[in-house]
């Protein structure tokens, strides 16, 4: 069974601080996606990383896919209260193509 472990589970920081969220697995994924989920809503895609070692930037968010395509990280620079939410990583297994395997999520709270 393929698993994605996210850490930390919870993160509470002050506005302006930097943070990194990790997504790790012992399995190889053909691609990995990061989502943000608000209460009572479905996950919304932030980014997809496909190539080992790939780095993508989305304003203050930087996403990295590990060289071996088993892990990924999300780094937020100068966090703002609007960044508060649940961040989920989800992988597409290298052997299949039809399903996403989700991590449990990191709940981020950014205080003014």
């Amino acid at each position: 069974t393929q698993l994605l472990e996210q850490s930390p589970q919870f993160l509470s920081i002050q506005e302006g601080e930097n943070l990194t969220v990790y997504c790790n697995s012992s399995s190889v994924f053909s691609s990995l996606q990061w989502y943000r989920q608000e209460p009572g809503e479905g996950p919304v895609l932030l980014v997809t990383v496909v190539t080992g070692g790939e780095v993508k930037k989305l304003k203050r968010l930087t996403f990295q896919f590990g060289d071996a395509r088993k892990d990924s990280s999300l780094h937020i620079t100068a966090a703002q209260p609007g960044d508060t939410g649940l961040y989920l990583c989800a992988g597409v297994s290298a052997g299949g193509y039809n399903k996403l395997i989700f991590g449990a999520g990191t709940r981020l709270a950014v205080h003014p």
Binding site: G42, G96, N98, G103
Partner: protein, 115 residues
């Protein structure tokens, strides 16, 4: 911006009753999915549907579950005889290509409460 629409937003049912959750995927999308999220737990894959047939399903998707695309626009999930443990948020999603290559768009979810 195109969106995936789900109804109902919340359904309360008695154990043993049949439930149908409805979804209208994005109109030009070809792949359709159901995921569920039990309160406090991970989002879990249930089933994927392509070219009018199930392309993959999880262990959760047993004989009590079925999916249908009855009219080319709706995509439904039926639970034949609900159990307490079926209580969860059910998310429909659609994509133009297989998820590894393309964006999956999720609906807002249907919350199912089984009493």
């Amino acid at each position: 911006e195109p969106e995936v629409t789900q109804t109902p937003s919340h359904q309360v049912t008695q154990m043993g009753q049949e439930v149908i959750l409805r979804c209208v995927p994005i109109s030009n999308h070809l792949y359709f999915y159901w995921y569920r999220q039990i309160l406090g737990q991970k989002v879990e894959f249930l089933v994927s549907f392509y070219n009018n047939e199930i392309s993959e399903k999880s262990e959760i998707f047993d004989d009590q579950f079925s999916v249908e695309r009855p009219d080319g626009s709706n995509f439904t999930l039926k639970i034949r005889s609900t159990k307490l443990e079926d209580s969860a948020m059910y998310f429909c999603a659609s994509s133009y290509e297989s998820p590894g290559a393309n964006v999956l768009t999720f609906g807002a979810g249907s919350r199912l409460t089984v009493l």
